[in-house]
């Protein structure tokens, strides 16, 4: 029997950290999700939540850490935790950062760049860990029995979704994607909010049958028309994606920094009601810091 996978949310907020009592439940740290399978650590994005993950890994007391980093893209809210990731300073740590195409060095370059002395006192080259770049080949990487695929998304500067297939389970991390620009019936979806939003076949195939889909659903339907082109999706569109792709559980992610816990609750409630009206069997919820699921 294969080892179970544990998925933990360390940062679920979009754009900028939002500490304070209004965001306590869903959390104020920016994007970071840990997928743990046996001794293998898979880390999706390095937003400010990564700092908390690093502290927790240090507490777990493993003699040697091997962690694999998959960045959706390199906007601030997805990389700012990296210089504060305690295991990066330990010579016993081995970190792998994944570039999405052969010969690409964008991830390494930008991780270096954000630690130049204008921004940060410690240089990337002074980190104690062994940090190695790896590349996807034909949009796929194999890590032992774990298969990871990537898919380019619609986001300013582009971003990538990752599908992790492990022990018969499938977990998809798909943040910072403006699904609404991909809709086959985009105009209709803006004019008639109740109309089912038709997602492109390639995306549906990538997500199909996921045990867990973690997807950017930053906006409400009412907010989105003022934010077109900013690179984020309506939560109700995520609901339609989950339903059409036969997803079992869907965690709406990358909550808007202007949203209090109560507003996130309302956004999630709306998406759940939409799924109910469609007779969907998907369980949809708002991703929140400190929640760990087992698969």
């Amino acid at each position: 029997m294969s080892a179970p996978a544990f998925v933990r949310f360390w940062g679920t907020r979009g754009s900028i950290p939002t500490p304070g009592h209004k965001t306590r439940r869903f959390g104020g740290n920016t994007s970071c999700v840990e997928i743990r399978v046996g001794d293998v650590e898979l880390v999706c994005d390095g937003g400010t939540g990564l700092r908390e993950l690093g502290l927790d890994l240090a507490k777990r007391g493993r003699p040697k850490l091997e962690a694999h980093f998959f960045f959706s893209h390199m906007h601030w809210d997805h990389i700012q935790g990296f210089p504060f990731f305690v295991p990066a300073y330990g010579p016993e740590s081995e970190l792998f950062v994944y570039e999405t195409s052969a010969g690409d060095d964008r991830v390494q370059k930008l991780l270096h760049g954000q630690m130049s002395s204008e921004y940060f006192p410690v240089a990337f080259g002074d980190l104690g860990a062994r940090i190695t770049a790896r590349h996807f080949e034909r949009a796929t990487v194999e890590l032992g029995s774990i298969r990871v695929r990537c898919l380019e998304q619609r986001h300013p500067g582009r971003s990538f979704a990752y599908a992790f297939e492990l022990g018969g389970k499938k977990i998809v991390y798909a943040t910072d994607s403006e699904l609404d620009l991909l809709l086959e019936n985009r105009e209709e979806s803006l004019a008639d909010l109740d109309a089912v939003r038709r997602l492109p076949r390639e995306l549906l195939a990538f997500v199909e049958g996921a045990d867990l889909l973690i997807a950017d659903g930053q906006y409400t339907d009412e907010e989105y028309p003022r934010k077109v082109g900013w690179g984020h999706a309506r939560a109700n569109t995520v609901a339609d994606l989950a339903q059409q792709a036969g997803v079992k559980q869907c965690a709406v992610f990358h909550h808007d920094p202007m949203h209090s816990d109560e507003l996130v609750d309302q956004k999630i409630q709306s998406a759940c009601e939409r799924l109910d009206r469609q007779g969907a069997r998907t369980l949809l919820f708002g991703a929140r810091e400190g929640l760990e699921l087992k698969f």
Partner: protein
Amino acid sequence: MSKSHEPDSDATISGDVSIVAGLPPSRKLPTLEQVRGPGAPRRIALALNETVVGRGTQANVTIDSALLSRRHVVFRRSGPELALSDLESANGVYVNGVKAHFAVLHEGDTIQVGDVVFVLHEAPE
């Protein structure tokens, strides 16, 4: 004393007070309000750093339900934070309807184990 010498009731009285830098940490305890299942309704104060809920006598809080494992779920306090962990129970732990292996908890969270439902209160009402 003539009336003109009585203090004006709206006036602030000047005087020495001792200035307090800080009070000891609150002794308030988080509480599980059991709203469904055997034994409900009742309130369970989480006075221990670790409180195990289950069907067996090894649990700190024993609930007579066949749907619970002997040691089903543990609630751990760490400073101001309260979290739960599923103790590899047969039927799982649900936080606000989501099956959770671990969860940091907040006021008003609904926690379900078998046929038992709790609502968490971070401090007494």
